[in-house]
Protein backbone atom coordinates (compact mmCIF):
# COMPACT_ATOMS: atom_id res chain seq x y z
CA UNK A 1 0.00 0.00 0.00
CA UNK A 2 1.63 3.14 -1.18
CA UNK A 3 -0.91 5.74 -0.08
CA UNK A 4 0.43 8.12 2.49
CA UNK A 5 -2.68 8.28 4.65
CA UNK A 6 -1.46 11.32 6.54
CA UNK A 7 -1.74 13.44 3.39
CA UNK A 8 -5.47 12.67 3.07
CA UNK A 9 -6.40 14.36 6.32
CA UNK A 10 -5.61 17.93 7.28
CA UNK A 11 -6.87 19.65 10.40
CA UNK A 12 -9.89 21.14 8.65
CA UNK A 13 -10.44 19.01 5.52
CA UNK A 14 -10.11 15.55 4.04
CA UNK A 15 -9.39 14.52 0.46
CA UNK A 16 -12.19 13.08 -1.71
CA UNK A 17 -10.67 9.58 -2.21
CA UNK A 18 -11.49 9.05 1.49
CA UNK A 19 -15.00 8.28 0.20
CA UNK A 20 -14.19 6.60 -3.08
CA UNK A 21 -10.92 4.67 -3.02
CA UNK A 22 -11.32 0.90 -2.60
CA UNK A 23 -7.74 0.42 -1.49
CA UNK A 24 -8.21 2.93 1.33
CA UNK A 25 -11.38 1.11 2.36
CA UNK A 26 -9.56 -2.22 2.52
CA UNK A 27 -6.91 -0.69 4.75
CA UNK A 28 -9.57 0.87 6.99
CA UNK A 29 -11.16 -2.52 7.57
CA UNK A 30 -7.82 -3.74 8.86
CA UNK A 31 -6.32 -0.72 10.57
CA UNK A 32 -9.52 0.55 12.14
CA UNK A 33 -12.25 -2.09 12.34
CA UNK A 34 -9.88 -4.91 13.23
CA UNK A 35 -7.84 -2.73 15.56
CA UNK A 36 -10.20 -0.99 17.95
CA UNK A 37 -13.32 -1.46 20.05
CA UNK A 38 -16.34 -2.02 17.84
CA UNK A 39 -19.90 -1.96 19.22
CA UNK A 40 -21.63 -5.32 18.78
CA UNK A 41 -24.75 -5.34 20.97
CA UNK A 42 -26.65 -3.88 23.88
CA UNK A 43 -26.83 -5.95 27.05
CA UNK A 44 -30.61 -6.29 26.68
CA UNK A 45 -30.08 -8.06 23.35
CA UNK A 46 -28.71 -10.99 25.35
CA UNK A 47 -30.87 -10.68 28.48
CA UNK A 48 -30.25 -14.09 30.06
CA UNK A 49 -27.98 -17.10 30.06
CA UNK A 50 -27.95 -18.98 26.74
CA UNK A 51 -29.21 -16.07 24.69
CA UNK A 52 -27.45 -14.70 21.63
CA UNK A 53 -27.50 -12.06 18.96
CA UNK A 54 -25.67 -12.10 15.65
CA UNK A 55 -23.68 -9.00 14.83
CA UNK A 56 -20.59 -7.74 13.02
CA UNK A 57 -17.12 -6.51 13.80
CA UNK A 58 -16.31 -4.60 10.63
CA UNK A 59 -16.96 -7.09 7.85
CA UNK A 60 -16.71 -10.17 10.05
CA UNK A 61 -19.91 -11.84 11.25
CA UNK A 62 -19.99 -12.66 14.95
CA UNK A 63 -22.34 -14.16 17.49
CA UNK A 64 -22.66 -12.30 20.78
CA UNK A 65 -23.66 -14.76 23.49
CA UNK A 66 -24.30 -14.72 27.21
CA UNK A 67 -23.37 -17.89 29.07
CA UNK A 68 -25.14 -19.26 32.11
CA UNK A 69 -22.73 -17.45 34.41
CA UNK A 70 -23.73 -14.19 32.75
CA UNK A 71 -20.46 -13.68 30.92
CA UNK A 72 -20.69 -12.22 27.43
CA UNK A 73 -18.72 -13.68 24.54
CA UNK A 74 -18.18 -12.49 20.98
CA UNK A 75 -17.49 -15.43 18.69
CA UNK A 76 -16.61 -15.47 15.02
CA UNK A 77 -19.58 -17.04 13.27
CA UNK A 78 -17.62 -19.69 11.40
CA UNK A 79 -17.09 -23.34 12.06
CA UNK A 80 -13.47 -24.21 12.71
CA UNK A 81 -13.79 -27.24 10.44
CA UNK A 82 -14.63 -25.95 6.97
CA UNK A 83 -15.94 -22.46 7.71
CA UNK A 84 -19.73 -22.80 7.52
CA UNK A 85 -21.63 -20.25 9.60
CA UNK A 86 -22.97 -21.86 12.75
CA UNK A 87 -25.85 -19.43 13.37
CA UNK A 88 -28.10 -17.59 10.93
CA UNK A 89 -30.69 -16.21 13.32
CA UNK A 90 -30.83 -12.57 14.39
CA UNK A 91 -31.27 -13.36 18.06
CA UNK A 92 -32.72 -15.96 20.32
CA UNK A 93 -31.95 -18.67 22.81
CA UNK A 94 -29.43 -21.43 22.33
CA UNK A 95 -27.38 -23.62 24.63
CA UNK A 96 -25.33 -24.97 21.74
CA UNK A 97 -24.43 -23.94 18.18
CA UNK A 98 -24.33 -26.85 15.78
CA UNK A 99 -22.64 -26.47 12.44
CA UNK A 100 -25.20 -27.61 9.83
CA UNK A 101 -22.55 -29.06 7.52
CA UNK A 102 -20.85 -31.85 9.50
CA UNK A 103 -22.41 -31.41 12.90
CA UNK A 104 -19.57 -29.94 14.95
CA UNK A 105 -21.18 -28.45 18.02
CA UNK A 106 -20.03 -25.54 20.16
CA UNK A 107 -20.91 -24.30 23.63
CA UNK A 108 -22.05 -20.69 24.00
CA UNK A 109 -18.56 -19.73 25.14
CA UNK A 110 -17.21 -21.12 21.87
CA UNK A 111 -15.74 -24.37 23.23
CA UNK A 112 -15.91 -27.21 20.72
CA UNK A 113 -18.18 -29.70 22.45
CA UNK A 114 -18.53 -32.56 20.04
CA UNK A 115 -17.24 -33.74 16.66
CA UNK A 116 -19.28 -36.47 14.93
CA UNK A 117 -17.29 -39.62 14.10
CA UNK A 118 -14.21 -38.16 15.73
CA UNK A 119 -12.39 -41.48 15.34
CA UNK A 120 -12.01 -40.55 11.66
CA UNK A 121 -9.27 -38.22 12.81
CA UNK A 122 -7.35 -41.05 14.49
CA UNK A 123 -5.41 -39.44 17.32
CA UNK A 124 -5.03 -36.22 15.37
CA UNK A 125 -7.78 -33.84 16.60
CA UNK A 126 -7.50 -32.07 19.92
CA UNK A 127 -10.90 -30.37 20.32
CA UNK A 128 -9.32 -27.77 22.61
CA UNK A 129 -7.57 -26.34 19.54
CA UNK A 130 -10.80 -25.75 17.64
CA UNK A 131 -13.02 -23.49 19.70
CA UNK A 132 -14.92 -20.80 17.84
CA UNK A 133 -12.59 -17.81 17.71
CA UNK A 134 -13.49 -15.64 20.68
CA UNK A 135 -12.87 -11.90 20.58
CA UNK A 136 -12.01 -9.78 23.55
CA UNK A 137 -15.31 -8.37 24.79
CA UNK A 138 -16.00 -5.62 27.31
CA UNK A 139 -19.10 -3.76 28.41
CA UNK A 140 -19.82 -0.31 29.72
CA UNK A 141 -23.29 0.57 31.03
CA UNK A 142 -24.97 -1.94 28.73
CA UNK A 143 -22.92 -1.08 25.64
CA UNK A 144 -21.04 -4.20 24.51
CA UNK A 145 -17.94 -3.82 22.39
CA UNK A 146 -15.55 -6.40 20.95
CA UNK A 147 -12.09 -6.19 19.46
CA UNK A 148 -9.64 -8.41 17.60
CA UNK A 149 -6.81 -6.80 19.59
CA UNK A 150 -5.71 -8.16 22.92
CA UNK A 151 -3.18 -5.41 23.49
CA UNK A 152 -5.25 -2.23 23.14
CA UNK A 153 -6.43 -0.23 26.13
CA UNK A 154 -9.43 -1.38 28.16
CA UNK A 155 -12.82 -0.23 26.88
CA UNK A 156 -13.34 2.20 29.77
CA UNK A 157 -10.11 3.98 28.92
CA UNK A 158 -10.96 4.01 25.22
CA UNK A 159 -14.30 5.66 26.03
CA UNK A 160 -12.77 8.09 28.51
CA UNK A 161 -14.90 11.24 28.88
CA UNK A 162 -17.58 9.65 26.68
CA UNK A 163 -18.55 7.49 29.66
CA UNK A 164 -20.27 10.43 31.35
CA UNK A 165 -22.45 10.94 28.27
CA UNK A 166 -23.28 7.25 28.03
CA UNK A 167 -24.45 7.41 31.63
CA UNK A 168 -26.59 10.45 30.87
CA UNK A 169 -28.01 8.79 27.78
CA UNK A 170 -29.04 5.70 29.71
CA UNK A 171 -31.28 7.84 31.93
CA UNK A 172 -33.82 7.22 29.17
CA UNK A 173 -34.47 4.02 31.06
CA UNK A 174 -36.56 6.24 33.35
CA UNK A 175 -35.41 4.27 36.36
CA UNK A 176 -36.18 0.91 34.75
CA UNK A 177 -33.04 0.43 32.71
CA UNK A 178 -32.70 0.59 28.95
CA UNK A 179 -33.94 -2.18 26.69
CA UNK A 180 -33.77 -2.51 22.92
CA UNK A 181 -37.24 -2.66 21.33
CA UNK A 182 -36.46 -3.44 17.69
CA UNK A 183 -34.39 -2.10 14.87
CA UNK A 184 -34.63 -0.47 11.49
CA UNK A 185 -31.99 -1.49 9.00
CA UNK A 186 -31.22 0.33 5.82
CA UNK A 187 -28.36 0.74 3.41
CA UNK A 188 -27.22 3.67 1.38
CA UNK A 189 -24.82 3.63 -1.55
CA UNK A 190 -22.08 5.62 0.09
CA UNK A 191 -19.00 5.47 2.26
CA UNK A 192 -19.33 4.75 5.99
CA UNK A 193 -17.61 7.97 7.02
CA UNK A 194 -20.40 10.03 5.46
CA UNK A 195 -22.71 8.54 8.04
CA UNK A 196 -20.16 8.91 10.80
CA UNK A 197 -19.99 12.63 10.04
CA UNK A 198 -23.76 13.01 9.97
CA UNK A 199 -24.33 12.05 13.59
CA UNK A 200 -22.30 15.06 14.63
CA UNK A 201 -23.81 17.41 12.03
CA UNK A 202 -26.50 19.72 13.41
CA UNK A 203 -25.98 22.06 10.48
CA UNK A 204 -28.02 19.86 8.11
CA UNK A 205 -30.95 19.39 10.45
CA UNK A 206 -33.19 22.36 9.67
CA UNK A 207 -32.55 21.93 5.93
CA UNK A 208 -32.77 18.19 5.43
CA UNK A 209 -35.40 17.64 8.10
CA UNK A 210 -37.66 20.57 7.38
CA UNK A 211 -40.54 18.19 6.62
CA UNK A 212 -40.05 16.42 9.94
CA UNK A 213 -40.12 19.76 11.76
CA UNK A 214 -43.26 20.75 9.83
CA UNK A 215 -44.98 17.59 11.07
CA UNK A 216 -44.58 18.51 14.76
CA UNK A 217 -46.75 20.61 17.01
CA UNK A 218 -45.35 24.14 17.49
CA UNK A 219 -43.91 23.36 20.92
CA UNK A 220 -42.08 20.23 19.75
CA UNK A 221 -40.99 22.01 16.59
CA UNK A 222 -39.35 24.64 18.75
CA UNK A 223 -37.55 21.98 20.79
CA UNK A 224 -36.16 20.47 17.57
CA UNK A 225 -34.84 23.82 16.27
CA UNK A 226 -31.49 22.35 17.17
CA UNK A 227 -29.39 25.33 16.14
CA UNK A 228 -31.33 27.73 18.36
CA UNK A 229 -30.72 26.54 21.90
CA UNK A 230 -27.10 27.43 22.55
CA UNK A 231 -25.80 23.92 22.08
CA UNK A 232 -22.27 22.87 21.31
CA UNK A 233 -20.01 20.16 19.94
CA UNK A 234 -17.25 18.81 22.15
CA UNK A 235 -14.28 16.63 21.25
CA UNK A 236 -14.10 13.78 23.77
CA UNK A 237 -10.86 12.25 22.54
CA UNK A 238 -10.16 9.02 20.60
CA UNK A 239 -12.43 10.22 17.78
CA UNK A 240 -15.48 10.45 20.04
CA UNK A 241 -17.55 13.60 20.32
CA UNK A 242 -20.80 14.85 21.72
CA UNK A 243 -23.12 17.27 19.99
CA UNK A 244 -25.50 18.90 22.44
CA UNK A 245 -28.54 20.23 20.60
CA UNK A 246 -31.01 20.70 23.43
CA UNK A 247 -29.10 21.60 26.61
CA UNK A 248 -32.31 21.37 28.65
CA UNK A 249 -32.42 17.65 27.84
CA UNK A 250 -28.91 16.68 28.87
CA UNK A 251 -29.92 15.30 32.25
CA UNK A 252 -33.35 13.68 32.14
CA UNK A 253 -33.54 13.49 35.91
CA UNK A 254 -33.39 17.27 36.23
CA UNK A 255 -36.15 19.83 35.65
CA UNK A 256 -38.82 17.34 36.62
CA UNK A 257 -41.02 20.23 37.77
CA UNK A 258 -41.19 21.70 34.29
CA UNK A 259 -44.62 21.64 32.60
CA UNK A 260 -45.30 18.46 30.65
CA UNK A 261 -44.98 19.15 26.92
CA UNK A 262 -48.20 19.05 24.95
CA UNK A 263 -47.35 15.95 22.98
CA UNK A 264 -46.84 13.98 26.20
CA UNK A 265 -49.96 15.17 28.02
CA UNK A 266 -52.03 12.18 27.00
CA UNK A 267 -49.33 9.74 28.06
CA UNK A 268 -48.95 11.51 31.41
CA UNK A 269 -52.70 11.23 32.00
CA UNK A 270 -52.65 7.55 31.08
CA UNK A 271 -49.79 6.81 33.48
CA UNK A 272 -51.44 8.79 36.27
CA UNK A 273 -54.68 6.88 35.65
CA UNK A 274 -52.71 3.66 36.13
CA UNK A 275 -51.84 4.91 39.60
CA UNK A 276 -48.29 6.06 39.00
CA UNK A 277 -47.18 8.79 41.44
CA UNK A 278 -46.77 12.23 39.89
CA UNK A 279 -43.01 12.41 40.32
CA UNK A 280 -42.55 9.09 38.55
CA UNK A 281 -44.93 10.12 35.79
CA UNK A 282 -42.76 13.17 35.20
CA UNK A 283 -39.61 11.10 35.20
CA UNK A 284 -41.01 8.54 32.75
CA UNK A 285 -42.47 11.18 30.46
CA UNK A 286 -39.21 13.08 30.35
CA UNK A 287 -37.35 9.86 29.61
CA UNK A 288 -39.78 9.02 26.78
CA UNK A 289 -38.87 12.26 25.03
CA UNK A 290 -35.22 11.24 24.77
CA UNK A 291 -31.93 13.00 25.32
CA UNK A 292 -30.91 16.30 23.80
CA UNK A 293 -27.57 15.16 22.43
CA UNK A 294 -25.81 12.83 20.02
CA UNK A 295 -22.80 10.98 21.38
CA UNK A 296 -20.68 9.79 18.47
CA UNK A 297 -18.36 6.92 19.33
CA UNK A 298 -15.62 6.16 16.85
CA UNK A 299 -15.89 4.13 14.68
CA UNK A 300 -19.35 2.56 14.52
CA UNK A 301 -21.95 3.57 17.08
CA UNK A 302 -23.80 6.61 18.32
CA UNK A 303 -26.14 7.22 21.20
CA UNK A 304 -28.31 9.52 19.17
CA UNK A 305 -31.00 11.40 21.10
CA UNK A 306 -33.37 8.47 21.60
CA UNK A 307 -31.81 5.49 19.81
CA UNK A 308 -28.59 3.72 18.94
CA UNK A 309 -27.27 4.33 15.47
CA UNK A 310 -24.90 1.60 14.35
CA UNK A 311 -23.00 1.65 11.09
CA UNK A 312 -21.50 -1.28 9.23
CA UNK A 313 -19.20 -0.76 6.27
CA UNK A 314 -20.13 -3.08 3.39
CA UNK A 315 -18.03 -1.73 0.56
CA UNK A 316 -16.27 1.54 -0.13
CA UNK A 317 -19.58 2.88 -1.50
CA UNK A 318 -22.13 0.87 0.49
CA UNK A 319 -22.96 1.16 4.19
CA UNK A 320 -25.60 -0.46 6.34
CA UNK A 321 -27.17 1.48 9.19
CA UNK A 322 -29.15 0.12 12.06
CA UNK A 323 -31.40 2.40 14.08
CA UNK A 324 -32.08 0.54 17.29
CA UNK A 325 -35.22 1.61 19.13
CA UNK A 326 -34.86 1.62 22.90
CA UNK A 327 -37.30 1.80 25.75
CA UNK A 328 -37.71 1.05 29.42
CA UNK A 329 -36.98 -2.48 30.55
CA UNK A 330 -40.16 -3.47 32.36
CA UNK A 331 -41.47 0.07 32.08
CA UNK A 332 -45.10 1.01 31.39
CA UNK A 333 -46.42 -0.38 28.10
CA UNK A 334 -47.94 2.96 27.19
CA UNK A 335 -44.56 4.65 27.55
CA UNK A 336 -42.76 2.05 25.45
CA UNK A 337 -45.47 2.19 22.80
CA UNK A 338 -44.98 5.93 22.59
CA UNK A 339 -41.21 5.42 22.26
CA UNK A 340 -41.89 3.07 19.34
CA UNK A 341 -44.22 5.53 17.61
CA UNK A 342 -41.75 8.40 18.09
CA UNK A 343 -38.97 6.23 16.66
CA UNK A 344 -41.10 5.30 13.66
CA UNK A 345 -41.95 8.96 13.10
CA UNK A 346 -38.37 9.99 12.32
CA UNK A 347 -36.37 6.80 11.86
CA UNK A 348 -36.27 3.94 9.45
CA UNK A 349 -36.61 3.45 5.70
CA UNK A 350 -39.95 5.31 5.59
CA UNK A 351 -39.52 7.64 8.56
CA UNK A 352 -39.94 11.38 8.24
CA UNK A 353 -36.18 11.86 8.68
CA UNK A 354 -34.10 8.86 7.66
CA UNK A 355 -34.94 8.67 3.94
CA UNK A 356 -33.83 12.26 3.52
CA UNK A 357 -30.61 11.60 5.40
CA UNK A 358 -29.97 8.55 3.24
CA UNK A 359 -30.66 10.53 0.08
CA UNK A 360 -28.32 13.26 1.23
CA UNK A 361 -25.52 10.78 1.92
CA UNK A 362 -26.05 9.15 -1.44
CA UNK A 363 -25.80 12.56 -3.06
CA UNK A 364 -22.44 13.06 -1.32
CA UNK A 365 -21.16 9.80 -2.78
CA UNK A 366 -22.49 10.68 -6.24
CA UNK A 367 -20.93 14.11 -6.08
CA UNK A 368 -17.63 12.70 -4.89
CA UNK A 369 -17.18 11.03 -8.27
CA UNK A 370 -16.14 14.46 -9.44
CA UNK A 371 -12.91 16.14 -8.38
CA UNK A 372 -10.75 13.50 -6.70
CA UNK A 373 -8.26 16.27 -5.99
CA UNK A 374 -10.84 18.40 -4.17
CA UNK A 375 -11.24 18.61 -0.42
CA UNK A 376 -14.21 17.71 1.75
CA UNK A 377 -14.44 20.74 4.03
CA UNK A 378 -14.98 20.21 7.74
CA UNK A 379 -13.73 23.61 8.83
CA UNK A 380 -17.00 25.06 10.11
CA UNK A 381 -17.37 26.41 13.65
CA UNK A 382 -17.10 29.29 16.06
CA UNK A 383 -16.47 29.15 19.79
CA UNK A 384 -18.77 27.12 21.99
CA UNK A 385 -20.84 29.12 24.49
CA UNK A 386 -18.71 30.09 27.49
CA UNK A 387 -18.26 27.41 30.11
CA UNK A 388 -20.38 24.61 28.63
CA UNK A 389 -17.68 22.18 27.58
CA UNK A 390 -15.42 20.35 30.02
CA UNK A 391 -12.20 22.26 30.73
CA UNK A 392 -9.47 21.35 28.27
CA UNK A 393 -11.81 19.91 25.67
CA UNK A 394 -11.82 21.34 22.20
CA UNK A 395 -15.36 22.58 21.52
CA UNK A 396 -17.33 24.61 19.01
CA UNK A 397 -20.83 25.92 18.54
CA UNK A 398 -23.65 23.45 17.87
CA UNK A 399 -23.22 23.60 14.11
CA UNK A 400 -19.44 23.34 14.26
CA UNK A 401 -17.74 20.46 12.47
CA UNK A 402 -15.64 19.83 15.55
CA UNK A 403 -16.88 16.24 15.91
CA UNK A 404 -15.99 15.40 12.33
CA UNK A 405 -12.53 16.85 12.79
CA UNK A 406 -12.14 14.76 15.94
CA UNK A 407 -13.15 11.60 14.07
CA UNK A 408 -10.81 12.31 11.18
CA UNK A 409 -7.88 12.97 13.48
CA UNK A 410 -8.53 9.57 15.07
CA UNK A 411 -8.78 8.07 11.59
CA UNK A 412 -5.40 9.55 10.75
CA UNK A 413 -3.87 8.34 13.99
CA UNK A 414 -5.07 4.78 13.40
CA UNK A 415 -4.28 4.66 9.69
CA UNK A 416 -0.73 5.87 10.18
CA UNK A 417 0.03 3.88 13.34
Amino acid sequence: MSTDFATLVRDDRVLTPMYTDEAIFEEEMDRIFKSTWVWVAHASDVPAGNTFKTSWVGREPVIVTRDKQGKIHTLLNRCRHRAASVCEKRKGKASVFVCPYHGWSYDVDGTLRKVPHINGYGEGLDTADYSLVSLRTEEYNGMIFATFKDDIQPLVDFLGPAKKWIDLFMKQGGGYGVKTLGEHRFRFPGNWKIQLENTTDAYHFPIVHKTFLDSLDPEAENVFQVLAHGGWVEDLGNGHSVMVMIPDLIDLEENLDAPIPQRFEELAKELAAEGMPDEQVRRVVRAVGGSGFNLNLFPNVACSMAFFRVLRPIEVNETEIMHVAIGMDGGPDAANRMRLRLHEHFQGPMGFGTPDDAEGWERVQRGARAGQDLWIMVNRGVDAPEGVAAPGHNAGDVSAETGMRAAYQMWKRMMTA
Binding site: R90, L181, G182, E183, H184, R185, F186, R187, F188, P189, V208, K210, T211, F212, D214, S215, E320, A325, D333, N336, R337, L340, R341, H343, E344, H345, G348, P349, M350, G351, F352, T354, P355, D356, D357, A358, E359, G360, E362, R363, R366
Partner: protein, 171 residues
Amino acid sequence: MSTIAEPLNRSEAAAAPSLQDAIQFVWAEADMLDRLDYKAWLPLWTENGRYIVPTERDVSDYDDRLNIVNDDAEMRQARVKRLLSGFSMSSAPPARTVRTVSRFVPVAVEDGAITLRAAMIMVEYKYERMRTMAADVVYRIVSTADGLKLDRKIVTLVNCDDYQHGIGYLL
Protein backbone atom coordinates in the same frame (compact mmCIF):
# COMPACT_ATOMS: atom_id res chain seq x y z
CA MET B 1 -52.74 -25.93 3.51
CA SER B 2 -55.28 -24.77 0.97
CA THR B 3 -56.18 -21.25 1.91
CA ILE B 4 -58.47 -20.77 -1.03
CA ALA B 5 -60.65 -23.56 0.31
CA GLU B 6 -61.06 -21.86 3.68
CA PRO B 7 -64.79 -21.45 4.16
CA LEU B 8 -65.90 -17.86 4.13
CA ASN B 9 -68.56 -16.85 6.54
CA ARG B 10 -71.02 -15.81 3.91
CA SER B 11 -74.04 -15.62 6.15
CA GLU B 12 -72.96 -12.28 7.58
CA ALA B 13 -71.61 -11.06 4.30
CA ALA B 14 -74.66 -9.48 2.87
CA ALA B 15 -73.20 -6.00 2.51
CA ALA B 16 -69.56 -7.01 2.13
CA PRO B 17 -67.77 -5.84 -0.99
CA SER B 18 -67.54 -8.50 -3.66
CA LEU B 19 -64.14 -9.99 -4.37
CA GLN B 20 -64.19 -8.43 -7.81
CA ASP B 21 -65.04 -4.97 -6.45
CA ALA B 22 -62.35 -5.31 -3.81
CA ILE B 23 -59.74 -6.28 -6.40
CA GLN B 24 -60.66 -3.33 -8.58
CA PHE B 25 -60.36 -1.08 -5.52
CA VAL B 26 -56.88 -2.46 -4.82
CA TRP B 27 -55.81 -1.93 -8.40
CA ALA B 28 -57.11 1.62 -8.37
CA GLU B 29 -55.17 2.26 -5.17
CA ALA B 30 -51.97 0.80 -6.64
CA ASP B 31 -52.37 2.98 -9.71
CA MET B 32 -52.89 6.04 -7.52
CA LEU B 33 -49.71 5.33 -5.60
CA ASP B 34 -47.61 4.83 -8.74
CA ARG B 35 -48.93 8.14 -10.03
CA LEU B 36 -48.22 9.86 -6.69
CA ASP B 37 -51.88 10.86 -6.50
CA TYR B 38 -51.63 10.98 -2.72
CA LYS B 39 -54.33 13.60 -2.23
CA ALA B 40 -56.82 11.21 -3.76
CA TRP B 41 -55.37 8.37 -1.68
CA LEU B 42 -56.13 9.93 1.71
CA PRO B 43 -59.94 9.82 1.38
CA LEU B 44 -59.76 6.15 0.39
CA TRP B 45 -59.32 5.38 4.09
CA THR B 46 -61.78 4.90 6.93
CA GLU B 47 -61.38 7.26 9.84
CA ASN B 48 -59.80 4.58 12.00
CA GLY B 49 -57.87 2.97 9.19
CA ARG B 50 -54.34 1.73 9.83
CA TYR B 51 -51.52 1.65 7.31
CA ILE B 52 -48.76 -0.65 8.51
CA VAL B 53 -45.38 -1.74 7.14
CA PRO B 54 -43.88 -4.08 9.75
CA THR B 55 -40.26 -4.97 10.47
CA GLU B 56 -41.13 -8.55 11.35
CA ARG B 57 -43.25 -11.27 9.82
CA ASP B 58 -46.09 -13.06 11.60
CA VAL B 59 -46.77 -10.29 14.08
CA SER B 60 -50.18 -10.09 15.70
CA ASP B 61 -49.92 -6.86 17.70
CA TYR B 62 -48.18 -4.24 15.62
CA ASP B 63 -48.59 -1.49 18.21
CA ASP B 64 -46.20 -3.20 20.61
CA ARG B 65 -43.57 -3.75 17.92
CA LEU B 66 -41.33 -1.52 15.91
CA ASN B 67 -42.70 -0.97 12.42
CA ILE B 68 -41.44 0.84 9.36
CA VAL B 69 -44.85 2.52 9.17
CA ASN B 70 -47.73 2.42 11.63
CA ASP B 71 -49.98 5.27 10.56
CA ASP B 72 -53.35 6.38 11.80
CA ALA B 73 -55.28 9.08 9.96
CA GLU B 74 -53.23 11.92 11.44
CA MET B 75 -49.90 10.33 10.50
CA ARG B 76 -51.12 9.50 6.98
CA GLN B 77 -52.10 13.11 6.54
CA ALA B 78 -48.72 14.29 7.80
CA ARG B 79 -46.92 11.74 5.63
CA VAL B 80 -48.70 12.83 2.48
CA LYS B 81 -48.06 16.47 3.30
CA ARG B 82 -44.37 15.66 3.68
CA LEU B 83 -44.13 13.62 0.49
CA LEU B 84 -45.84 16.31 -1.57
CA SER B 85 -44.14 19.29 0.09
CA GLY B 86 -41.21 19.47 -2.28
CA PHE B 87 -38.88 19.90 0.70
CA SER B 88 -38.08 16.24 1.27
CA MET B 89 -35.12 15.41 -0.93
CA SER B 90 -35.93 11.68 -0.99
CA SER B 91 -39.37 12.40 -2.38
CA ALA B 92 -38.74 15.44 -4.54
CA PRO B 93 -38.70 13.58 -6.77
CA PRO B 94 -39.09 10.08 -5.38
CA ALA B 95 -37.99 6.97 -7.21
CA ARG B 96 -40.38 6.10 -10.02
CA THR B 97 -42.39 3.00 -9.25
CA VAL B 98 -44.38 0.45 -11.19
CA ARG B 99 -46.27 -2.09 -9.13
CA THR B 100 -48.64 -4.93 -9.75
CA VAL B 101 -50.88 -6.56 -7.17
CA SER B 102 -52.19 -10.06 -7.77
CA ARG B 103 -52.56 -13.56 -6.29
CA PHE B 104 -55.60 -12.43 -4.36
CA VAL B 105 -56.89 -14.70 -1.63
CA PRO B 106 -60.03 -13.77 0.28
CA VAL B 107 -59.20 -14.31 3.93
CA ALA B 108 -62.39 -13.25 5.67
CA VAL B 109 -65.75 -11.83 4.79
CA GLU B 110 -67.61 -10.09 7.58
CA ASP B 111 -70.54 -7.81 7.81
CA GLY B 112 -69.74 -5.10 5.34
CA ALA B 113 -66.06 -5.96 5.02
CA ILE B 114 -63.75 -8.21 3.09
CA THR B 115 -60.16 -9.00 3.93
CA LEU B 116 -57.82 -10.01 1.13
CA ARG B 117 -54.32 -11.28 0.99
CA ALA B 118 -52.32 -10.45 -2.11
CA ALA B 119 -48.85 -10.31 -3.62
CA MET B 120 -47.31 -7.03 -4.65
CA ILE B 121 -44.31 -6.87 -6.95
CA MET B 122 -42.82 -3.46 -7.51
CA VAL B 123 -39.88 -2.05 -9.38
CA GLU B 124 -38.44 1.32 -8.43
CA TYR B 125 -36.04 3.41 -10.44
CA LYS B 126 -33.84 6.30 -9.45
CA TYR B 127 -30.27 7.38 -10.17
CA GLU B 128 -29.34 4.80 -12.83
CA ARG B 129 -30.57 1.98 -10.64
CA MET B 130 -33.52 -0.42 -10.59
CA ARG B 131 -34.62 -2.25 -7.48
CA THR B 132 -37.24 -4.95 -7.17
CA MET B 133 -39.38 -5.20 -4.09
CA ALA B 134 -41.96 -7.81 -3.17
CA ALA B 135 -44.51 -7.86 -0.41
CA ASP B 136 -47.38 -9.82 1.00
CA VAL B 137 -50.18 -7.32 1.44
CA VAL B 138 -53.31 -7.67 3.52
CA TYR B 139 -56.20 -5.35 2.72
CA ARG B 140 -59.34 -4.91 4.77
CA ILE B 141 -61.91 -3.13 2.65
CA VAL B 142 -65.27 -2.00 3.96
CA SER B 143 -68.49 -0.89 2.33
CA THR B 144 -69.66 2.54 3.42
CA ALA B 145 -72.29 4.96 2.26
CA ASP B 146 -69.38 6.72 0.56
CA GLY B 147 -68.36 3.64 -1.37
CA LEU B 148 -65.52 1.23 -0.57
CA LYS B 149 -62.93 2.34 1.97
CA LEU B 150 -59.60 0.97 3.05
CA ASP B 151 -59.66 0.07 6.74
CA ARG B 152 -56.38 -1.75 7.06
CA LYS B 153 -53.41 -2.24 4.80
CA ILE B 154 -50.44 -4.25 6.00
CA VAL B 155 -47.51 -4.36 3.62
CA THR B 156 -45.11 -7.07 4.75
CA LEU B 157 -42.04 -6.82 2.58
CA VAL B 158 -40.50 -10.17 1.73
CA ASN B 159 -37.30 -8.91 3.42
CA CYS B 160 -39.01 -6.81 6.08
CA ASP B 161 -36.62 -8.03 8.78
CA ASP B 162 -33.54 -7.25 6.72
CA TYR B 163 -32.17 -3.98 5.39
CA GLN B 164 -34.10 -1.69 3.06
CA HIS B 165 -32.99 1.39 1.24
CA GLY B 166 -34.59 4.77 1.83
CA ILE B 167 -38.17 4.71 0.49
CA GLY B 168 -39.41 8.15 -0.53
CA TYR B 169 -42.90 7.10 -1.64
CA LEU B 170 -45.86 5.06 -0.39
CA LEU B 171 -45.96 1.26 -0.52
